[in-house]
Structures are given as structure tokens and as C-alpha cells.
């Protein structure tokens, strides 16, 4: 009965462990194919463009723009209901890969598609830091 609702923590796998280790150090690493030179996200053991098997980890700029977003008025569970509404977004990074994240650090009503955003890490535990995004140039 006293069980606290928990957020959904990512559990790293062999191909994603370097990504999560970098996040832990507040660094965004994504894969770059040694054969075709393109980036991909999420991490894989093969290049999703050319099926090449040599993938290098490259530090991403952490900047991108909002492709789409939704303001969630109902949280998926109590663990996510704490901070008012949540902005869920798809972000296209400068490296031309797309990822899901939350937009934080601004009034949800300010969020719009095409908005420039930059990464900011949220420490969830001793191992896991989550990449989040906020409006760019907001120091």
C-alpha cells in the first residue's frame, strides 16, 4: 500500500548504454555512421540508412526545433502529475534526427512548432539523467 508511484526509468541495453552514460555526464551523444556519414537516433547496432555496421558516437549540438507538441492536461500516472501540465514534443536536432522529449523551463502556452530549443538535463537518479529541452538562448 505504501508503494510510491515511480516514473518510467529507462533501462539501458548494450547498444544504448553509451548514450545513457553520456546523459549521466550531461552530454548528448548520438550515433554517426562511418560509412555514409549520417546520424541516427535511437542507437542501433546497424546504420538505419545504409545498413553499415560501423557506428561512432558523436556529440550533438543539443539544439533543434519543435516539430510538434501537445500540452498534456492529464498525466499518465501520479508520478507524472506533480508539476502541472506536461509538454510532450518531437524535436528535430540540427543533426537531422528526431527525438521525443519534454519542453521545460517555460510557460507551456509559449511553446509553438518551429520553436528553437536546446537541451537541458534533468537528474532523475545517480545513474539516469534525462535529456529535456527548453527554449534556446535562455540562460
Amino acid at each position: 500500500m505504501s508503494k510510491q508511484p515511480a516514473k518510467h526509468f529507462p533501462v539501458p541495453t548494450p547498444e544504448t548504454a553509451p548514450y545513457w552514460e553520456a546523459c549521466h555526464n550531461h552530454q548528448l551523444l548520438i550515433q554517426k555512421c562511418a560509412d555514409c556519414g549520417k546520424h541516427q537516433f535511437y542507437p542501433r547496432t546497424v546504420c538505419s540508412h545504409c545498413t553499415g555496421g560501423t557506428l561512432e558516437w558523436a556529440e550533438a549540438s543539443g539544439r533543434g526545433e519543435i516539430v510538434s507538441y501537445t500540452i498534456m492536461h492529464r498525466a499518465v500516472s501520479k508520478a507524472y502529475a506533480g508539476g502541472g501540465v506536461t509538454v510532450l514534443a518531437l524535436i528535430r536536432l540540427e543533426e537531422d534526427v528526431q527525438m521525443m522529449s519534454n519542453i521545460i523551463g517555460c510557460d507551456p502556452e509559449q511553446v509553438c512548432t518551429g520553436m528553437s530549443v536546446e537541451i537541458i538535463f534533468e537528474d532523475w537518479s545517480d545513474e539516469i539523467s534525462m535529456p529535456m529541452f527548453r527554449p534556446a538562448d535562455q540562460q
Binding site: 516514473k7 518510467h8 526509468f9 529507462p10 533501462v11 539501458p12 541495453t13 544504448t16 545513457w20 537516433f41 535511437y42 516539430v67 510538434s68 507538441y69 501537445t70 500540452i71 498534456m72 492536461h73 492529464r74 498525466a75 499518465v76 500516472s77 501520479k78 508520478a79 507524472y80 506536461t86 510532450l88 514534443a89 518531437l90 528526431q98 527525438m99 521525443m100 522529449s101 519534454n102 512548432t113 534525462m130
Partner: protein, 390 residues
Amino acid sequence: MLGALRGKVAIVGIGDTEVGIVPHMGATGLCVDAIRRALDDAGLAKTDLDGLVTCNSMADPYLYHAEMIAEYLQIFPRYCLGAGAGGGTSFTVLHHAASAIATGVCKTVVISMADSLRSGMTRERAMTAQSSTGHPQFESPYGPTVPALYGLIARAYMEAYGTTPEQLAAVAVNSRNHAQLNPLAQMREPITVEDVLASRMIADPLHLLDCSLVSDGGAAVVLTSAERAADMKQTPVYLLGAGEGHGHEHISQAHSLTTSAASESGKRAVEMAGLGPKDMDFAELYDCFTPVVLIELEDLGFCKKGEAGAFVEAGNLALDGSLPTNTHGGLLSHCHPGNPGSMFALTEAVQQLRHAAGDRQVKDAETALVHAQGGIMSSHCTLILGREPG
């Protein structure tokens, strides 16, 4: 080879369980009840079945679900498959089961799917189970609900084409109008566009009434060869076309938020059937959220890109419109027990094509297009059904 399936297989039995809130039955019981009803409708005994296809339930899951249902019912099929591709599962397995019949792997297959999302699970467990469709590492940690994942699509679509909230709402109103003519529908109270817009915002721009229901229920269909179908109890409904399209699994990996793999599944089904969108007397389109119907109308060739909002607003989906759609009330108003949801679109299409749909009968319905998708606009399957084998 595309034509090899056309007219070769027919739906000869259908069964819907009670739907909505059905606390006296669990998911397994509903699944078997649907089979019993479909066999009864077909005039068949369980010993006539040599194929079984099910999808797992969230409320009462089994590791090997189809085998479990076979055991429960004490049938011993030669073709036994538990499938899972979200809301599109029912149609993709029909496509596969039809292939199995056409190639002689088996003769008579029942497809049955049920779940008990309303009575068999707590609300929080049902929400968490459904949102496990998110990628476990790269989506779910951000807390998306299913409406939020579709909210991303809704926003992108509306901004791309200038679609209005009123046009989305018109989809929900159309379904509710039809549900009022369906005594089995879960939600039959009339609603207006204003009601939809005034309903609680769930995941902006999706209001509560833009979202489908959470239900208990199940349905089954019996398939057999066209030859065998000719002598059976019911007017056979023939499979004329089937096509699939699989674009992504997770929405963050989608190549487009506004055009889906329905464009591929629809093209494949139409090619097999040798019929086009204009030949369809009605449609049953997967309507887990209102904007999904608009995207499907376009990707399936009923409207040009960006024009579906105006098409719906003009009343084309009504029973007396140019393309009566979701004639039973759809997932928005009839019921939505999760993965089995599209089964009811199938049983409804069969009722319509048998000319047995009562007050909501589409006049002289000969040919229908039914479409389902699973995941987050991920896996699509289009079926074309008709009263004549082609």
C-alpha cells in the same frame, strides 16, 4: 499474384459480445463468448474449426494466448496464432488467415479478440498498459499518454492543412449520430460540435470527446473458402482486397506525422480488388481519435490531402452522405476495448453487406472499405469486402 486472394475467402459468421461495461465477464470469457456467438451465427460447431487466431488481452494476458483459448474451448486447430500489432491486428490476421485458407493450410478459421479494459483493470493500470506502446527508453520516460502521442499527430496535421477543431469535432458527432441508431453502442447520448469543443482538454488539441472510449468487449468472425461459404447459413461476405502498410512502430520514428502507411495499405487493397475508392458504398475507418479519420480519408484516396476536414464537415460521412462511415458508432461511440476494437468495424461491415444492419442500414450496400491501424499510426491494414466474389 495480387489477385490470388480476391473472392477466394468469405466471412460466414460474426459475433459481438456485450460491450461497454461488462463486469460479469473477464477478457478470456469475452473472447470465448465471441467465438460461441460467431459459430452460432455461422451455423457451425466448434469441431468445424481448424484454425484459431486471437490477440492477447491486457486485463487477462497469457504468454501463448491463442493456445490458451484453444485449450479453454477444447478445440485442436491445425492453424493457431496469437497476434499483436495493436488496433490493426484484427485486419492483418484476417489477411493472413485468408492466405492460409486460400493455400489450403486450413479450411475454417475463427478470429476472436476481446479485452476488459474497463472492468478488468484499474484506470491507472489500463492507462499505463496502453501507453506501454511508447518506446521503453526513448518515449515512455517522458510520460506520454496515448492521447498525447496522437496529440502530436493532431497538431502537426492541423497546422499543415489549417484543419479546425470544429472539423475534428464533426468526426465525433458523426459517429455519435450513428451510435444513436445502434442499440448495442456504449455511448448514445446526442452530442454537438459545441459539446466536443467544450469537453475537457486531454492532450491539446484533443478534447475528451475527440478520444475514443475505454470499454470491455470482444468480437469474432469465422472465415472459410468461398466454395464452402456458398452452402452456408448466412449470406457470405467476400474478401476482395487486402493490403498492409507498416511505417514505424514509435511515433518519434515516423517519417511523416501527416501522411501514414494507410496510403500503402489502401493502394495494395485497391489493386487486389480491382476497385477504387469511388466504388465503395460505405467505409469503416479506425477512429481512436478524431484526426485519425481525416488522415485515413486522405491516405485511402477518398479526399485530397488537407481536404478531409471540409469533407466531413459537409456531412459526407452520414448515412445519407456520399460515404457513410463508422456506421455502428466506431471506437468513438460504439466501444473501444483496445486491440480488439477494429473487430467491431469488421462485424459491422458484414452486417451492412448482409443488409441486416436495421435502422442504420446503408441502402443497397454492395462493397465496403474497412481500415484499421495499430500503434501510433504505425501498422495499417485495409480490407475491401463485398457481397459478390468479384
